[in-house]
Subunit: 354 residues, 2 copies
């Protein structure tokens, strides 16, 4: 079914073949998830059966699990190229689109396939993947519930004297024990001045009284990822800290309130940003308001001032306003949100801990 | 210093500029580790100062941590391309090499930089990265010690009634609490018939008496990764299981014994493979004997029948013979090994649990 939808996209862009190398895209169309650095290739002729080329290490697993395609084993990267070229010639393909290719492979295909047009076109796949179906939404709900467990456990572990990575350890362990397939991305525990880094990962810094601590994590369920952030102050917040927390939570609420089908993503960003701007923190909100999430942690649609996306029912987006003050610290509040016709539903539902 | 060595490589291949987009390569040359899906670019003119282009989200962290380069902030991917083109024209670069580029970016650079040759050449960097220096080896030792802790904890957690992912949870938690910066790759707990998948990740399968359980995991220390596998039988092994375990451990030992500076990687693979072949298990050893490891989990040199690599002092390689019998199960034993002049030193040192 998904392959048929991709073929509709191919017809629109007049392509007669599509080549997939990204493991999440292969999973989306076949149900087979290879390891993260696998070399594999799914070739979909407009007229004809898709073929999945996998390494000998993945062959048995692919045979057992991949649907909607033939599975061929290919022993080396060079042979993948040879096999692809053979398939392309056999099917007489003339305009092939692809999601992603290692540049050396792209260069070789171009060189050896004179007269065949080979073009990147990720949009054909994103047009499908950005709208989640019922099953995908159930996986995203599960991943979000697991992230809530991680946040709750992580927040409980925050106290003076503890190292950032120890907090990450507790949160990740709780998610894993409840069935998370790993972490959706590198867990961020950014404390004290480090909380001013939007991408702070976690270090051996020891938590002190008065620190901001940003805890940003996600879980994975059936391949689908969630993303949540909470920020707390260790001990009693100063007036400035309270103000920052309150403002960011207001910006977050503002975004949630305005989400619905057919709103411009730009407008959602602008609404949240205005809350921070109006109090003089516009420049300290360094990044876009958010992004889509699914099999990947960053997907379309994008919530930012430059986005041209329009929100649709079935989009799942991250909403993550923040304030970052270099040398002082930062605050971010983030949820995974499902777009409905008239509202945005928080899939992550942990307390705000304000 | 590393940048000077890269410039020597550039001189050899007559390049006057090198463009780095891989986060581990950026870390190798600057000491700054960005998040895993960051868009960033380090441009190194042969004559001139390197410049690192990073997103606003990473700017403060990069300013605080990146050495040997200027740091510029770039707000969008499009602007990275504009800025790169400006730098390339300003420095009058005519032959640029790169490690990796998203294909659309490669296509745009080619189109907009007529008269400039732009070629992938990862070897220039691998020529440096494949030989680990003292500091890198100390990080790899640390990562290996953490992996030993993970294996010990994971093995202790294996018993009938437990789910595969629960074993992964215990192992990962122990590594993380001892300071691992995450998992070096998705932990594999492949039990029963699933042990015949070389890349089995972990599922909710419940461990039963008589199962083979393959536990394959790694830790990260200062960005460097380790890799270890042990296989055990739950309860008393059958004769066939014992035979498989014994053979794989002999193949593993054989490989370790023959590792030294200047041996062909192919020969190491052949020696280990012969042990399995001689007992009729040649075809069930589905993959190469191993691969280099460092900041990435798969690096040169490659230990396989097709490898053209020659081992050198300072290489760190994975040695991982295995037997996989579809429908029955599999065995793999794996260590992270440092190549010395006259021997291979196991950096992972956990018991074999035979």
């Amino acid at each position: 079914m998904r392959i048929e939808l991709l073929k509709n996209e191919m017809i629109k862009s007049k392509a007669d073949g599509y080549l997939i190398s990204n493991i999440n895209n292969v999973f989306y169309f076949t149900g087979f998830m290879d390891v993260s650095d696998a070399t594999l290739s799914l070739i979909i002729p407009l007229d004809g059966e898709p073929t999945l080329l996998v390494s000998p290490l993945s062959y048995t697993a692919a045979k057992d699990n991949a649907l909607n395609c033939l599975v061929n084993v290919i022993s080396t990267e060079k042979k993948i190229i040879d096999k692809l070229i053979k398939k392309i010639k056999l099917n007489n393909l003339k305009k092939i689109e692809f999601d992603t290719l290692p540049t050396p492979m792209y260069i070789e295909l171009i060189k050896r396939l004179k007269g065949v047009k080979i073009t990147p076109n990720q949009n054909s796949i994103w047009n499908l993947r950005r709208i989640k179906d019922e099953q995908e939404i159930s996986f995203l709900r599960k991943a979000s519930t697991l992230a809530d467990i991680g946040i709750k456990t992580g927040i409980q572990a925050i106290k003076t004297g503890v190292k950032e990575y120890e907090i990450a350890a507790e949160a990740e362990y709780a998610m894993r024990l409840h069935g998370s397939e790993g972490t959706a991305f590198d867990t961020i525990v950014a404390s004290g001045p480090r909380s001013a880094y939007p991408h702070g990962v976690s270090t051996n810094r020891v938590i002190s009284k008065g620190d901001f601590v940003i805890l940003d994590l996600g879980a994975i369920s059936s391949g689908y990822r969630s993303d949540i952030t909470r920020t707390i102050v260790v001990g009693t917040p100063t007036q400035k800290q309270s103000k920052m927390l309150e403002l960011v939570s207001r910006a977050h609420q503002k975004a949630l309130e305005c989400i619905h089908t057919d709103i411009n993503a730009q407008e959602v960003d602008a609404n949240a940003r205005e809350v921070l701007k109006s109090e003089g923190y516009g420049k300290q909100f360094l990044h876009g308001l958010g992004h889509g999430v699914g099999l990947d942690i960053h997907e379309p649609p994008t919530l930012s001032s430059r986005s041209e996306d329009i929100l649709k029912k079935g989009n799942v987006v991250i909403v993550e306003p923040g304030i970052y003050i270099v040398g002082f610290g930062g605050v971010r509040i983030e949820d995974t949100v499902l777009v409905h016709k008239n509202y945005g539903e928080r899939l992550t539902q942990a307390l705000y801990y304000l």
